[in-house]
C-alpha cells in the first residue's frame, strides 16, 4: 500500500523538508550511514538473502562507497524502490545515491535532473518466452501479451520496437520484477521483457529455467549506472571515482586478497600507489581518507570479483562478461586514469 503512495509523499517531501542538496557528504557523515536506493528485489543485483541481508552486484557497489567513506561496508541503509519511485526518492533527498540498474538516458540526465556517474553494467533489453511457444524471433510476437515493468526505459523501447516493426501487442504493466515473474509464470503474458541481465536473473529463479528462452534480439542500449542529484559535484565525484576505482583495481590486478599487502607500503607501480594512497593524496581531494579506494576494494573486491561473485558464469544467474569485460579484454569497462 505504502509504496503506491510514494509518489505523493515524495512530492510532499519536496514541499516539506529542504532537500539536502549541497554537502551530501557532510550529511552522510553526520548521519553515520549511506542511504542507497536499490531494487526491491532482482536476484544477483539487489535482493535479500535468507537471513534478511542485502546481497548483489548493485548492493556491493553501495558497500564499496560506504567503505570508502566510513571504512565500514555495513554502514549502509538500503532503500528499496520500484522503477516508478526511485527518482522521486533521490530528488526529494530521501536517498543519497541510486544503485538500481538504472539506464542512463538524455531525458533523465538533463530534464529529470539526475547526474549519472558512469556505467557499471552495459546491458540491453531482451525478451523471454516459454520454449513451448516455439518463438524464434521477437518479430514473431505479433498480438502477444507482454509483461513489462512500468516506469522504465524498457516500456518506451517496447513501444518503439513494436511500432517500428508495425506489429501489435498488449502491454501488461507490472510494478516490480517479482510480480512480473508471477504473472509471466501464470501465463498472464506470453513474453517478459526487461534488461537481458534482469531476464537471466529472473529465469535463474524458475523451477524449470531450461523451458524458457531469451530471444536473440537485443532491442536497446541500456547503460546501467549509479545516479546522484544535480548540483553536488563533490558527492558525484565520490560515487564516480569509487566505481572507477573498482574497475581500475581489476586492471591493475588488485584483489580483495592482495589489497592489504599492496596498500601497506609503496610498491614499484606508481599507478597502484596512487590508487591505494601510498603515493600522493587522491582521497584527500575527494574529501575522504588517503586509503579510501583500498578500503572499498578490501570490502567488496575489484569489479571482476564483484561480477563473478554475484552474476558471473559460476552463479545461478550465469551472465558472461561480454560488454562488461575490461577494455583490454575487448569489453567496454574502462576507467580514466588515476592521477
Amino acid at each position: 500500500m505504502k509504496r503506491y503512495l510514494l509518489g505523493a509523499t515524495a512530492a510532499l517531501a519536496m514541499i516539506g523538508a529542504t532537500a539536502a542538496n549541497a554537502g551530501t557528504l557532510d550529511d552522510v557523515k553526520a548521519r553515520g550511514e549511506l542511504i542507497c536506493i536499490v531494487n526491491t528485489g532482482l536476484p544477483g543485483f539487489s535482493f535479500t538473502d535468507e537471513s534478511g541481508k542485502w546481497q548483489g552486484f548493485d548492493v556491493d557497489h553501495c558497500r564499496a562507497v560506504a567503505a570508502a567513506i566510513f571504512g565500514d561496508p555495513n554502514k549502509v541503509k538500503y532503500k528499496p524502490a520500484t522503477g516508478k519511485t526511485r527518482f522521486t526518492i533521490l530528488n526529494s533527498g530521501e536517498g543519497d545515491v541510486i544503485f538500481r540498474n538504472t539506464t542512463w538516458t538524455f531525458v533523465r540526465d538533463v530534464d529529470v535532473k539526475l547526474a549519472f556517474q558512469g556505467t557499471n553494467y552495459y546491458d540491453g533489453q531482451g525478451f523471454m518466452v516459454p520454449k513451448k511457444l516455439g518463438v524464434k524471433s521477437a518479430k514473431e510476437l505479433d498480438g502477444a501479451s507482454v509483461c513489462i515493468q512500468t516506469g522504465t526505459t524498457t516500456e518506451l523501447n517496447l513501444a518503439d520496437f513494436f511500432r517500428s516493426n508495425k506489429i501489435k501487442y498488449e502491454p501488461v504493466p507490472i510494478e516490480s520484477n517479482e510480480e512480473a515473474r508471477t504473472n509471466y509464470l501464470a501465463g498472464r503474458c506470453d513474453v517478459y521483457t526487461t534488461d537481458a541481465s534482469g531476464l537471466a536473473a529472473t529465469r535463474a529463479t524458475f523451477k524449470d529455467p531450461q523451458n524458457h528462452v531469451i530471444l536473440p534480439e537485443i532491442i536497446s542500449k541500456e547503460p546501467l549506472g549509479p545516479a546522484t542529484r544535480h548540483g553536488d559535484d563533490q558527492w558525484s565525484d565520490i560515487i564516480r571515482w569509487t566505481t572507477n576505482a573498482l574497475v581500475a583495481a581489476e586492471e591493475l590486478g588488485i584483489t580483495q586478497k592482495n589489497v592489504g599487502e599492496l596498500g601497506a607500503k609503496a610498491t614499484d607501480n606508481p599507478e597502484i600507489n596512487r590508487l591505494l594512497g601510498t603515493e600522493g593524496n587522491l582521497g584527500g581531494m575527494l574529501g575522504l581518507d588517503k586509503d579510501w579506494a583500498a578500503k572499498a576494494i578490501k570490502a567488496v573486491g575489484n569489479y571482476g570479483e564483484i561480477f563473478d561473485r554475484n552474476i558471473g558464469p559460476k552463479t545461478p544467474i550465469g551472465l558472461e562478461r561480454g560488454l562488461n569485460a575490461l577494455w583490454t579484454d575487448g569489453g567496454l569497462q574502462y576507467t580514466p586514469p588515476f592521477r
Binding site: M1, A11, T18, V107, T150, I174, E175
Partner: protein
C-alpha cells in the same frame, strides 16, 4: 455593584495598555475575532512557507514548474483505452485515457456496489436464518479485509485459475462465442447495421412512454384509487418494443466474434483481468458497507410503520416499497454518498495490478518519464477533488429531493 465596578475600572486606567489588552481578551466577541485572525495568519504563513520551500527546492534541483510537458509525446502504450491512443500521443492524451479508465471503473463499481449492497442489506434482515447468516459472514469478511488485498486476491484468482487462451478455446467458453481466459473475458461485439437506428429510436421512445405512462397512472390512482400494473407495462414496453422491431427488421446487427489467432483472441469485446479484478473487488468491498447502511436505514424506520401498513392490508413487498424504503432512504443516502466517494478514491489502488487509471498513467509513467512530480501530482489531486465534489453535489441534490416533505 455598578459603582464598585466603575471605581475599579477608573482605578485601573492608570495601568495603561496592559489593561486594554486584558479587557479585549476577556471580551468574548473580541477574543474570538483575535483568535480567528491569529489562526488565519498562521495558516497563511504556513501555506506561504511550504510554497516558498517548494519553489526553493525545485530551484535547487534546477527544475522548472511548468505544464508544457503535457504536449510532448508520451511514448508508452496503454492496454485499455476508451479513446484513440497510441505511443505517439501526448501526455495529455494519456491523462485523458487514465481519467476515463478511472471513471469507468468507478461508475461500474458504484452501480454494482449499490445493487449488491441493497440486496445484501435486505437479505441480512431476512427471517430465513441461513440466508441472513451467510450474508452476515460475507459482509463481515469483505468489510474487514483491506481492499488492496481483495484486489490482489481477485486478480490472482482470475490470472491463476482461468485457463490460457488455447485451453479456453477448447473448454472454457459459452457456445463458442464467449471465452473465459486469464487474459480477459472475450465476447462478441455487436456492430449495428442499417436499420438498427430505428431499434434504438424505439428504445428511447419506449423510455419516454414509460415515464409519461407512470405519471399518468399515478395521477389516475390519486384520482380514482384504481391501481395499474405500471412496472410490468413499462418493462414490457422498454424491452418488448425494440425487440419486436429488431426481429421485424430482420435482426440488423452483425457480431464481431472473438477468434484465437496466434497468441491471443482477436476481435470482439474484451474485459481484461485487471479491470475485472478491480471492479469486482471494489464493488464487493463497498457493497458490504452499503449493506450495513441499508440495514441500518430499514431498522431506523419504527416498527409502528410496519404495523400501520399491515393494518391497512398492504402486503410485505408493497409495505417495503411504499412505506419503509422511502423513509429509510432519508437515513441511507448521506452515508451512501461517502461510500461512493470511498469507492472512487479506492480505485487509485489500480496500479497494484496494473490497471491503467489516472494514477498509473499521468501520476505514474508520465511522472516517471518526465520527472514532473509536483505538476502530475497536482493534476491527480485536482482530478480526484473534482470527481468527489461532483458526486457529493449530485447526492446532495438527490438527498434534498427525497427528504421528508413537510406539509
Amino acid at each position: 455593584m455598578a459603582s464598585i465596578d466603575s471605581t475599579a475600572r477608573s482605578a485601573q486606567t492608570d495601568d495603561g495598555q496592559r489593561n486594554i489588552i486584558a479587557r479585549l481578551w476577556y471580551d468574548k466577541e473580541t477574543r474570538s475575532i483575535i483568535l480567528q485572525i491569529i489562526t488565519l495568519a498562521l495558516l497563511v504563513a504556513f501555506i506561504a512557507y511550504i510554497t516558498t520551500n517548494a519553489i526553493a527546492n525545485l530551484k535547487l534541483l534546477g527544475k522548472t514548474f511548468s505544464f508544457d510537458f503535457l504536449n510532448d509525446p508520451a511514448h508508452y502504450d496503454i492496454n485499455q483505452t476508451l479513446v484513440e491512443y497510441s505511443s505517439t500521443s501526448t501526455h495529455f492524451r494519456a491523462m485523458v485515457v487514465g481519467i476515463l479508465n478511472t471513471l469507468l471503473v468507478a461508475f461500474c463499481g458504484v452501480i454494482l456496489a449499490t445493487i449488491l449492497g441493497f440486496i445484501f442489506g435486505v437479505l441480512r434482515l431476512s427471517p430465513n436464518w441461513l440466508v441472513s447468516r451467510i450474508v452476515y459472514c460475507f459482509i463481515e469478511f469483505t468489510r474487514n479485509v483491506p481492499v488492496l488485498l481483495q484486489i490482489l486476491l481477485v486478480h490472482g484468482i482470475v490470472v491463476h485459475l482461468l485457463p490460457q487462451p488455447r485451453v479456453a478455446q477448447e473448454s472454457a467458453n459459452i457456445a463458442n462465442s464467449i471465452f473465459f481466459t486469464n487474459r480477459g473475458v472475450f465476447a462478441p461485439m455487436p456492430i449495428p447495421e442499417a436499420g438498427f437506428n430505428i431499434v434504438i429510436g424505439a428504445f428511447l421512445a419506449a423510455i419516454v412512454f414509460a415515464v409519461v405512462f407512470a405519471k399518468w397512472a399515478k395521477a389516475k390512482q390519486d384520482a380514482t384509487g384504481q391501481h395499474l400494473p405500471v412496472f410490468w407495462i413499462c418493462t414490457g414496453a422498454i424491452i418488448g418494443a425494440p425487440l419486436l422491431l429488431y426481429l421485424m427488421l430482420g435482426m440488423p446487427l452483425a457480431w464481431d466474434m472473438p477468434a484465437l489467432k496466434g497468441f491471443n483472441f482477436r476481435g470482439g469485446f474484451v474485459i481484461r483481468p485487471e479491470f475485472l479484478a478491480l471492479w469486482l473487488a471494489l464493488a464487493f468491498y463497498t457493497s458490504a458497507f452499503i449493506a450495513e447502511i441499508v440495514r441500518a436505514g430499514i431498522l431506523a424506520v419504527s416498527k409502528g410503520q410496519w404495523e400501520a401498513a399491515s393494518a391497512l392490508g398492504l402486503p410485505r413487498g408493497r409495505t417495503l416499497n411504499l412505506v419503509i424504503i422511502p423513509q429509510a432512504l432519508r437515513v441511507i443516502v448521506p452515508p451512501l454518498t461517502s461510500q461512493y466517494l470511498n469507492l472512487t478514491k479506492n480505485s487509485s489502488l489500480a496500479i497494484a495490478i496494473g490497471y491503467m487509471d489516472v494514477v498509473a498513467t499521468i501520476g505514474g509513467i508520465s511522472l516517471m518519464q518526465t520527472g514532473k512530480e509536483m505538476e502530475t501530482m497536482i493534476i491527480v489531486i485536482l482530478f480526484y477533488l473534482c470527481v468527489s465534489l461532483t458526486i457529493s453535489a449530485f447526492m446532495n441534490w438527490y438527498n434534498r429531493r427525497i427528504k421528508l416533505v413537510e406539509r
